[in-house]
């Protein structure tokens, strides 16, 4: 029998979901790829039919469908309705299988001059809204 203090506060909240997020990742809590960010753009490499889907979980297949048109990892997480950290693990699986590609965000360092061409493009797009 467990002591009352063993329970952690998130236990109550986690019951909203039928499957605990880290069950989907087989207990893994960290991605093998620590370079994935919220705005890393994920793109599916090939149509699903070309490869077998053996070994892929439903969430993996959802990612492959969603990323036929490239989207940022945050959008993938929103689409799966899973925490960002869990999404990173699943995307990392697909990267290891070469089923998706990941484009890192453009480097924008604090205090560093940002590329003027990029800023002008952003401004033009905003003015076009």
């Amino acid at each position: 029998m467990s002591h009352w203090a063993d329970g952690s506060p998130e236990d109550d909240e986690a019951e909203e979901s039928l499957v605990r997020p880290y069950t989907i990742t087989h207990g893994r809590t960290a991605s093998a790829r620590d370079d994935l960010t919220l705005i890393t753009v994920i793109a599916t490499v090939a149509p699903d039919e070309r490869h077998g889907d053996r070994g892929l979980q439903p969430e993996h297949r959802m990612i492959l469908r969603q990323c036929r048109a490239p989207v940022a990892l945050a959008e993938v997480a929103a689409g799966l309705n899973l925490p960002v950290a869990v999404t990173k693990i699943l995307v990392g699986d697909l990267l290891a299988l070469d089923r998706v590609t990941a484009r890192p965000p453009l480097a924008v360092a604090v205090g560093q001059e940002t590329d003027m061409t990029l800023l002008q493009a952003v401004k033009d797009a905003l003015l076009g809204l």
Binding site: A5, P70, P83, G111, L119, K123, L126
Partner: protein, 207 residues
């Protein structure tokens, strides 16, 4: 499977039918106290309805009674809403409405890291709710503009009054607007981009 070889990483010419090159992404943070209009602003300029995601962060002994000297860890869920503006075929801008509690941003480095800049939203009835965001971006050297949310065109304070009350650096733009209006929110983002294009490092205003 005649084409399967083409999936190998050759570094170039890995173009798959239907997908041209993948665009890169940049982001701008929308900050400010709870209920100040972050998601409203994201929604007014985003090309998609605001999306919602969350992260579970481990909080070491924060505000938890220490029962027996053993450091306890708890997990907290931090949520954010975000939207998207496609700049062109090669570039996508994401707008992230940050969690209201700034203390979580430090634990969520990915959220702040690599942002072009930030918009701090303020409500004239409770300007103090914006202090923490302003302090945060100033300390991190993240360029930001301040947007004063004026519902129904109600402007009970002038730009100078807001600037004084928030003790803002003269170089930081303050823009009034109704964030439900796409063009007002747009103008706030343009003010930020203009600030970035002026290339002003936060510490050196003199020229």
């Amino acid at each position: 499977m005649p084409y399967s070889d083409s999936d190998e990483q050759t570094g170039s010419q890995v173009c798959v039918a239907g997908t041209s090159t993948t665009p890169a992404a940049v982001k701008i943070l929308i900050a400010g106290g709870f209920g100040v209009g972050k998601t409203t602003m994201v929604g007014s300029v985003s090309e998609i309805p605001p999306l919602h995601t969350e992260e579970r962060l481990t909080v070491a002994g924060l505000g938890v009674d220490d029962l027996d000297g053993v450091e306890r860890k708890t997990t907290t869920t931090v949520a954010l809403d975000f939207g998207r503006i496609t700049v062109n075929s090669q570039l996508v801008l994401y707008l992230f409405g940050t969690p209201g509690q700034e203390r979580f941003w430090f634990m969520w480095n990915d959220l702040v890291h690599g942002a072009l800049g930030a918009v701090v939203l303020a409500d004239t009835r409770r300007l103090e709710s914006s202090f923490a965001s302003i302090d945060f971006f100033e300390s991190r050297g993240v360029p930001f503009v301040v947007g004063v949310n004026c519902f129904h065109g109600l402007r009970d304070r002038t730009v100078d009054e807001v600037r004084d009350a928030l003790d803002l650096d003269p170089g930081i733009p303050v823009v009034m607007g109704d964030l439900r209006e796409r063009l007002d929110s747009r103008d706030l983002l343009v003010a930020l981009v203009n600030l970035l294009m002026a290339g002003r490092p936060p510490a050196a205003v003199s020229g």
